[in-house]
């Protein structure tokens, strides 16, 4: 209950600032560093796969991972059996 908050140790505002920054910046770094062509590449890859296999867009997962000096693109989907 908020009326008992005065009993808790008061959080220093600088610590709060640091925590908030760490969260927002790690989120922004992953979004901002993706190349401009990534959305289009994803769309085309999905279209190619869907041409050969009966898969919906949400069944194909494509993600980009950034390492120190290179990036990888990871694509995951389950190949349905032909006889199903």
């Amino acid at each position: 209950m908020s009326i008992f908050n005065f009993l808790l140790p008061k959080k220093k505002s600088a610590n709060l600032a640091k925590e908030r920054l760490q969260i927002i910046i790690s989120h922004e770094r992953t979004n901002n560093t993706a190349p401009d062509f990534l959305p289009q590449l994803k769309k085309e890859l999905i279209a190619v796969i869907a041409k050969y296999m009966p898969l919906q867009e949400d069944q194909i997962n494509i993600q980009m991972h950034r390492q120190d000096n290179h990036s990888t693109i990871e694509m995951n989907f389950v190949v349905p059996n032909a006889d199903e």
Binding site: K12, A14, A17, K18, L21, I25
Partner: protein, 276 residues
């Protein structure tokens, strides 16, 4: 070989122009032939901070448009004979800056100068992009405050992806963190992000810490770069940062000494109320 430095931050009002003026003056005092360029086309202020606002005849855009030569547009500083200022245009907008035009001028300045300091405007628009594009080093000016730190992180991302060096796949721009308006007392009370907090987040090497100081306003009031305030803590902090930038071995011995009441304070009678 000439070295191009961009002073940038993303956020406005953190001290980019103060820093550009202070750093370029310090480099010149150490004996390097230095030019400082104002990239804030339409909102120029470096001329005021350097105290040469009444001597502007031609500007950066005049040179890009070939209405004047680089030599005609450069303003020689009256205090340091190794220091020159290239002012921004006050009437045009930032679209007047072209990559080819900026490249041509920087290439020409490289023939004659040791250091080319580019004072970036705030934001991530054309002016800021052009200021950083040809840089070899970047000084990221950051206040110990959430919005400034976030914007600095964004600028670092842009430096690593959109600069000339990044697009050519060359060695990346050397990044230096300069924290300004720092208050040790408020950090101790837990009211302000510490140097360590900022370094943990931005993860780039620290060049210097400039304390919050009344001298910075006195300096801008007078149009004198704060580096020339011999007894000022902020001026001394800038001199230390410059010595670190160029390497102690290239720094004249007298540069880091607190001196007696300097010429400029005698002339203007300022910077005396600094707490020490």
């Amino acid at each position: 070989m000439a070295h191009v430095i961009v002073v940038t931050s993303g956020k406005g009002g953190v001290g980019k122009t103060t820093t550009s003026a202070a750093i370029s003056t310090g480099l010149a005092l150490c004996g390097f032939k230095t030019v400082v360029i104002d990239f804030d086309v339409g909102l120029r202020n470096l001329d005021l901070i350097m105290g040469c606002e009444r001597r502007v005849v031609y500007d950066f855009i005049n040179v890009i448009n070939k209405e004047a030569t680089v030599k005609q547009a450069l303003i020689k500083d009256k205090r340091c004979d190794q220091l020159f200022i290239l002012p921004a245009s006050q009437t045009r907008d930032k679209d007047a800056l072209t990559t080819e035009g900026v490249k041509e001028i920087i290439d020409e300045l490289k023939q004659e100068f040791d250091y080319i300091v580019c004072d970036s405007p705030a934001g991530i628009e054309k002016g800021a992009m052009m200021a950083m594009y040809f840089a070899d080093s970047a000084i990221i000016v950051t206040n110990p405050e959430v919005s400034s730190v976030r914007d600095s992180d964004r600028i670092l991302g842009i430096l690593n992806s959109k600069s000339h060096r990044a697009t050519l796949g060359q060695d990346s721009i050397k990044e230096h963190l300069l924290i300004t308006r720092y208050s040790e007392a408020r950090v101790k009370k837990g009211e302000m992000l510490s140097v360590q907090d900022i370094q943990d987040i931005l993860a780039i090497p620290l060049l210097g810490i400039i304390p919050e100081s009344q001298d910075v306003l006195s300096a801008s009031n007078a149009g004198v770069p704060v580096t020339l305030f011999d007894e000022s803590e902020a001026g001394m902090a800038y001199r230390r940062a410059i010595a670190k930038f160029i390497g102690e071995d290239k720094t004249p011995e007298s540069f880091l000494k607190k001196q007696k009441r300097g010429l400029f304070k005698r002339m203007f009678g300022i910077g005396e109320e600094t707490a020490r």
